[in-house]
Assembly symmetry: C2
Homo-oligomer: 170 residues x 2
């Protein structure tokens, strides 16, 4: 059970046209700022990697990032709206089978925009999108620093004694 949050608002028609009919507004305390979640607005892969680098992850080859996005079940961008050049300020993606399992990766909100509930709204958006697809269960691997963040939102930590395990190809 996810902790109830106010539902994300549907943006005006011009924004739906730019960001797709599944676009939703991300609430912010700054009235000058229009932030929009989109599943279809294309990513500039260099801008995406800069965002992920800004939250502390290492840069990855653009060619491999492109392939990974192509094979992802869901890609969500959080855009600082501009009619011509929106800026990417948040991101999340999921792999999965579209039915039983989805796994969330690469959740990021740019440091300049953190601390305003954007990350929580991002997860609300992601879970709604996966639910709409008919996904039964969503999983993720939380870093120590964000375990509380996910627990507060209703994620179950290691349910039924599950433990996560990793294997590295190199």
């Amino acid at each position: 059970m996810i902790t109830p949050t106010s539902p994300l608002q549907i943006p005006e028609p011009a924004l739906l046209e730019q960001y797709g009919k599944q676009a939703r507004l991300c609430a912010t305390s700054n009235d000058q700022l229009s932030l929009v979640f989109s599943q279809i607005h294309p990513f500039d892969l260099v801008e995406l990697e800069q965002l992920l680098e800004a939250v502390g992850w290492s840069r990855r080859p653009v060619r491999r990032v492109r392939k990974a996005l192509t094979h992802s079940l869901l890609k969500v961008g959080l855009w600082r709206h501009d009619p011509r050049v929106p800026r990417l300020v948040g991101f999340a993606r999921c792999t999965g089978d579209g039915v039983f399992e989805a796994t969330v990766w690469d959740v990021a909100v740019h440091p300049r925009y953190q601390g305003n509930g954007l990350g929580q709204q991002m997860m609300t958006y992601v879970l709604e999108a996966l639910k709409e697809m008919g996904t039964e269960r969503v999983s993720l691997f939380a870093d120590p620093g964000v375990v509380d963040f996910y627990q507060r939102q209703g994620w179950e930590l290691e349910p039924e004694g599950h433990r996560c395990a990793f294997w590295y190809s190199s």
Copy 2:
């Protein structure tokens, strides 16, 4: 680092034709038995669900299983060879992006065939196939009963303090 195991043997040409050129033999102490890993031999979805039920999981609607398999990155069947009607005795599948991340689900060996190292050979086969695809990291959620099984094979438990978290749509 995976614990070294003897490499899986390539089967004779007739079996490669039946099970695909990535087919490998699964070693067994029973000389009468020919067990083959395949990525291409088609599944009878009722037989697959019977196998998963035999290891204790609940039955799932065939239509949804079909969709989940279609969207999986890798499906591996372990077949008890028969030129006409091979029987499915083991299974594993992965979701993932084909580059950075793959996650293993539904690992099963039929109870009648357990305790002979088949599960370990299955994981060797799965990891080799993912490595060949260029996948960097493989993850799974281990039930309490199989944590040791994976650790013995070199899987890292909760590396860097990762914790697994789940969210259920219903």
